[in-house]
């Protein structure tokens, strides 16, 4: 039963293998050239398993210790997972104890497969979704670790490689923008953050920016609320 589910799940994860292979590797290299041994990307890809946050965590690890800001920032970056969970309430209900791991590993990519994949007749749904989760997690850990190891071998000038994080967020932001019918929320995020950066400076702008974003989103609930996509 497990074998059959694994064989059915694997083809669905091939696009993720490519994507994670690239991004995870870039993440590992980025950590290595930022001065971290390979076991940092390995540990973080295992335990955090959320690409955006792991990239941001590199900057946070290089800055002075700020536990409260780290936790709030992490919550905000990861808040979208709450909605993946809500969408999977039914699907993950009756799959037994392995649901604990499946919920732990419910990243964007795993969610999109498990939410939309048409699971063939005769394949156990629970094990199918379990193996999608496990394979995606394994791809991410393997490529981040490899990146961390390979980063030490890079002999060319890696100055500017950290821009991979900026590029990644520009692309995700753009994808989000193209998907929305109205852009109030995206503009609030950009505008409030830029204003707080100008006011408070690069080391202190995050917490005020997060508060202003939450306040504005709450205040303009009516107009912004209609802007979302169908998710």
């Amino acid at each position: 039963m497990k074998r059959k589910a694994l064989r059915a799940a694997f083809p669905h994860t091939i696009p993720i293998l490519t994507g994670f292979g690239f991004l995870g590797f870039a993440y590992g290299v980025y950590m290595r050239v930022s001065g971290f041994s390979f076991w940092y990307p390995m540990l973080m890809s295992m335990t955090v398993f959320g690409g955006s946050l792991e990239f941001v965590a590199v900057s946070m690890l290089l800055a002075p210790f700020a536990p409260v800001q780290t936790f709030v920032m992490a919550l905000l970056i990861q808040a979208r997972h709450i909605f993946y969970g809500i969408a999977m309430l039914d699907k993950y209900r009756d799959v037994g104890p392995k649901r604990l791991y499946m919920i732990f590993g419910l990243c964007d990519e795993t969610f999109s497969i498990n939410c939309t994949a048409r699971i063939p007749e005769g394949v156990d749904r629970g094990w199918f979704m379990f193996f999608v989760t496990l394979l995606d997690h394994a791809y991410w850990v393997a490529s981040a670790t490899l990146g961390g190891l390979a980063g030490a071998l890079f002999t060319f000038d890696t100055a500017g490689l950290d821009f991979v994080m900026t590029s990644m967020f520009v692309v995700i932001f753009l994808e989000q923008w193209l998907k929305e019918r109205r852009h109030a929320s995206a503009l609030i995020g950009l505008g409030a953050s830029a204003a707080c950066l100008a006011l408070f400076g690069p080391d202190r702008f995050l917490v005020p920016a997060m508060l202003v974003i939450l306040a504005l989103l709450t205040a303009f609930r009516g107009p912004v609320g209609k802007a979302g996509d169908a998710a």
Partner: protein, 110 residues
């Protein structure tokens, strides 16, 4: 590095804890029988756009438009990233292209 090993491990643990919390919360709080509160649904739609906007600004927080290269390499590389993405809509190509462009700019031009 400014943090001690223990502080780094705590920082990583906090990131992991926040992630686990957001992933488990719905299964602990909501049931598939009752509808999710409307404000929570609203935040689910509205937050991602705002958060990724904030993260773009966060990435650029160190850029000084008044000194040095005035943020020109960043501006050009972002334009290349966005242009590639609007043209091909291939996430990895856009990210790789923008990054390589930035590396060339800071190493060879500015």
């Amino acid at each position: 590095m400014t943090m001690t090993l223990a502080q780094r491990l705590v920082t990583i643990a906090l990131c992991a804890a926040a992630t686990v919390l957001t992933r488990f919360l719905p299964f602990l709080v909501f049931s598939s029988k009752k509808p999710t509160p409307r404000f929570v649904q609203y935040l689910g739609r509205a937050l991602p756009g705002a958060v990724f906007g904030m993260l773009v600004v966060y990435c650029l927080r160190g850029v000084d438009v008044l000194a040095g290269s005035h943020g020109l390499p960043e501006l050009i590389a972002i334009a290349v990233t966005a242009g590639l993405h609007l043209w091909k809509r291939q996430m990895l190509l856009s990210i790789a292209g923008g990054t390589v462009c930035y590396m060339l700019l800071v190493q060879l031009v500015f």
